[in-house]
C-alpha cells in the first residue's frame, strides 16, 4: 500500500523512523528543536526524542560539522543539519579536509557514519549565498557519499539509507521541492545508495537528471516527439556509471542536465565517463546542460536565465538528433 505525502513529510518520517529504530541516531543543527527546521523537516522530533537526542546548536557550522565528525568516530550516528547547503563553505575545513579524509588517512580504522542534511538549489529568489547546488563541490572530494533527492519516495528511502550507511553521507534535498507530493509506501523501505534508477524507459535518447531538473526534463520529454529514457542518478558520488552506460548503449544519445554550475561540473564528469569508456555507443555527441557560470542572481528574471528551464532542456535534447 502507498499514500501521497509531501517531500518534506517524507524527510521527517525518515529521520523519525531511524531515530526510533536506533538509539545511536541523534539530530542536531540550528533551529531543529521546536521551530522544526526551516522547511518543517524536524517538526515534532524534539518533543518525541527530547533534549539528549535532538539538539539546537549555536549558529556555527564548524561546530555542527566538526562535532558530527567526532561524535561519529565516537560511536554515535549523527544527522547534522546545515540550514542551507551553501553554508557548507562556512565549515570548509571540516567538510572538505576532515570528514571525507579521516577514514582514509587512518588506514580505514576510523569510521565516520554521519549524515549531513543540507537543503540546496535555486528557485525561491534567495540570492547568491542561499541558492546553490553543491553536489559538484562535494563530489570533487573523494570520501563523501553524495546523495540527492528527487521525489518523496527518494527523499525517504535515501535518507534512511544515508543514516544507516557507515560512511559520511551528504544528503541534499531541494528547497523548491519541499511541498511536492508523491507516492510513498506504507511499509518501511530503504533505497540503495550508489545506484542510479531508470525512471522512465525509452529508446531514442538517455537523459540524466535529478531534483528539479528531473521534473523539468520529464516535462521537456513529454513535449517532444522522441522516446526519452530518463535516469535519476540519486547518488552522485560514487556514481553509478553502469546504469547510464547501459542506457546509452541502447539509445546512442546522451543529455545530462543538472543544477550545478557547468564549468567543472557534474554534467561534464558524467558525460566524460560515458564518452571515454563507451565512445562507440554514441550516434551523436553528448549534450550537457547546467547552471550558467555566474553566481545566482536574486532577480527572478536573472535567476530564470541562469538555471536550466524546460525550454533549454528541450533544445538540448533536440540538439543531439
Amino acid at each position: 500500500m502507498t499514500r501521497e505525502i509531501t517531500y518534506i513529510e517524507a524527510v521527517a518520517e525518515a529521520i523519525d523512523e531511524e531515530m526510533d529504530r536506533d538509539d545511536d541516531v541523534i539530530l542536531f543543527g540550528e533551529d531543529v528543536e521546536d521551530f522544526g527546521g526551516n522547511f518543517g523537516e524536524t517538526a515534532g522530533l524534539h518533543e518525541k526524542y527530547d533534549d539528549d537526542r535532538v539538539r539546537n546548536t549555536p549558529l556555527a557550522e564548524i561546530g555542527i560539522a566538526g562535532m558530527a565528525l567526532g561524535a561519529a568516530v565516537g560511536g554515535i550516528r549523527p544527522v547534522a543539519e546545515l540550514q542551507f547547503a551553501d553554508f557548507a563553505a562556512t565549515a570548509g575545513d571540516e567538510i572538505f579536509n576532515q570528514i571525507p579524509k579521516q577514514p582514509y588517512v587512518s588506514g580505514g580504522s576510523l569510521e565516520v557514519p554521519l549524515t549531513i542534511f543540507a537543503p540546496s538549489g535555486a528557485g525561491i529568489g534567495a540570492g547568491a549565498q542561499h541558492s546553490q547546488s553543491v553536489h559538484s563541490w562535494l563530489g570533487n572530494v573523494p570520501g563523501w557519499v553524495v546523495v540527492t533527492a528527487t521525489t518523496p519516495y527518494d527523499a525517504k528511502g535515501l535518507l534512511k539509507s544515508a543514516i544507516r550507511d557507515d560512511n559520511p553521507v551528504f544528503y541534499l534535498p531541494h528547497k523548491a521541492l519541499v511541498e511536492t507530493q508523491g507516492e510513498v509506501p506504507d511499509e518501511e523501505y530503504t533505497l540503495p545508495l550508489g545506484e542510479a534508477v531508470v525512471e522512465e524507459e525509452g529508446e531514442d535518447v538517455t537523459v540524466v537528471a535529478t531534483q528539479v531538473m528531473f521534473h523539468r526534463a520529464k516535462e521537456a520529454a513529454a513535449d517532444l516527439d522522441v522516446n526519452v529514457e530518463l535516469i535519476n542518478p540519486r547518488t552522485f558520488a560514487p556514481l553509478d556509471t553502469e546504469t547510464i552506460a547501459e542506457s546509452v548503449e541502447k539509445t546512442g544519445r546522451l543529455v545530462v542536465v543538472d543544477e550545478t554550475v557547468e564549468r567543472y561540473g557534474t554534467q561534464s564528469h558524467i558525460a566524460n565517463e560515458i564518452v571515454e569508456n563507451h565512445f562507440f555507443s554514441f550516434d551523436a555527441p553528448p549534450k550537457t546542460i547546467g547552471v550558467k557560470d555566474v553566481p545566482i542572481p536574486v532577480s527572478p528574471t536573472l535567476e530564470t536565465e541562469v538555471i536550466p528551464g524546460t525550454e533549454r532542456i528541450k533544445a538540448g535534447i533536440e540538439s543531439v538528433f
Partner: protein, 334 residues
Amino acid sequence: MTHDVSVDDEMAKHLLQEMLRIKIFEEETKARYEEGEIPGFVHLDRGHEGSHAGMAAAMRDDDWLAVGGARLVGQYIVKGVPLGEIMAELYGRTGGSNKGHGGQMHVSKVDRKLYGHAATIGSGQNPAVGLALAEEMKGTDNVAVTTIGDGGTSRGSFHTALIFAAYWDLPVVFIIENNGWAISTPSESLPPDRLSDYGDPVNIPTESIDGSDVETVYHTVSEAIDRARDGGGPTVIESRVARLNPHFEGDKETYRDEEELERALEEKDPVKNYRERVLEAGVVSESEIEDIIDTIEREVQEAVEYARESPDPEPEAAYEHVYKTPLYGQGEQE
C-alpha cells in the same frame, strides 16, 4: 519613566526622523511583500531602529559600514542609500543599488561606504577589519563599523576578526545587536553574561548598552569611534534590543512567549519611546512629527513607484559583473 534628551535639538530630530524612516519603509515593504511584489525573503527590523539610527549618527560619511545580523534594511537606510534604490533592489530591478543581482540580503553602495552584507551570517567581520586596514594604509582617519547578531557571535570567523583587529589595533567598532533571538535560539542560552564579554580575552574595550535607547547608542558608538579614529583600536559593543517582529516574514514564532513579546512591544519599542521623549522634552511638537511622517510616507511611496517602474533586468545582464574585463594583459585596461 522619563529621560531627558541628551543631544541637541537638531540631533534629536534627526534621530527620530531616521527611526521613523526605517519603520515606515519597512511597513510598506511588508505590505509589498505580502502582495507578492517582492521575491525571496524579507527580514524586518522592528526593535532595532534605535540601534541603527544611533550608530549611523555617530559615523561620518567616510566611515565604512559592514552590515551583519539579519536586520539589514534599516542599516542600509541610515547609511544613506536612497530609498528608491533599496526598494528597487528588493524588487530585483535594474534601478536597485545592485541592479537586481543582490536583493535584500546584499544591498551595497560603495559611494556611501556601505560594504554590504554576508548572507552567511558572521562572515562580514573579517572584511570589516580589512576595510579598516585599507583606511589605515591609505593614511585616512576613517573607521569601519560592523554589526552582527547575537547568533552570529558563535561563528569562529567573528572571534578571528576580534583577534585580528586587536593584533594590529585597527580602527574597527564591532556592534553586536543582541535582540534575544537567533531565529528560535535564545541568546540567553549562550555562555557569556554579556556578549560584549567576547572582547575581554583579546583585551578589546567593551560596552553593553540598552540598544533600544537611540541616544545611548549614539553616545556609546561615538566614543568608540573617537577612540578608533585617534589610534586607540577596536571596541566591542553589545547593543541590547528586542526583536519586535518574526525572524522573517512567514515565521510563526511558535517558540516565543507571547507575554514576553507583549512586554517588549510595550517597553522596548525605540520609535514609540523616543517619540514620547522628545515630545515631552518639547524638542518637537506633535504637528512637526506629523509633518515628518507625511514627508517620509511620500518618500516611501516614491520609492515604491520608482521600484515598480524600474525595468526588470534584461536576461543577458545575468552575465555581467562576474569578472572585470579585459583580464590583465588581454587588452586596454580602463
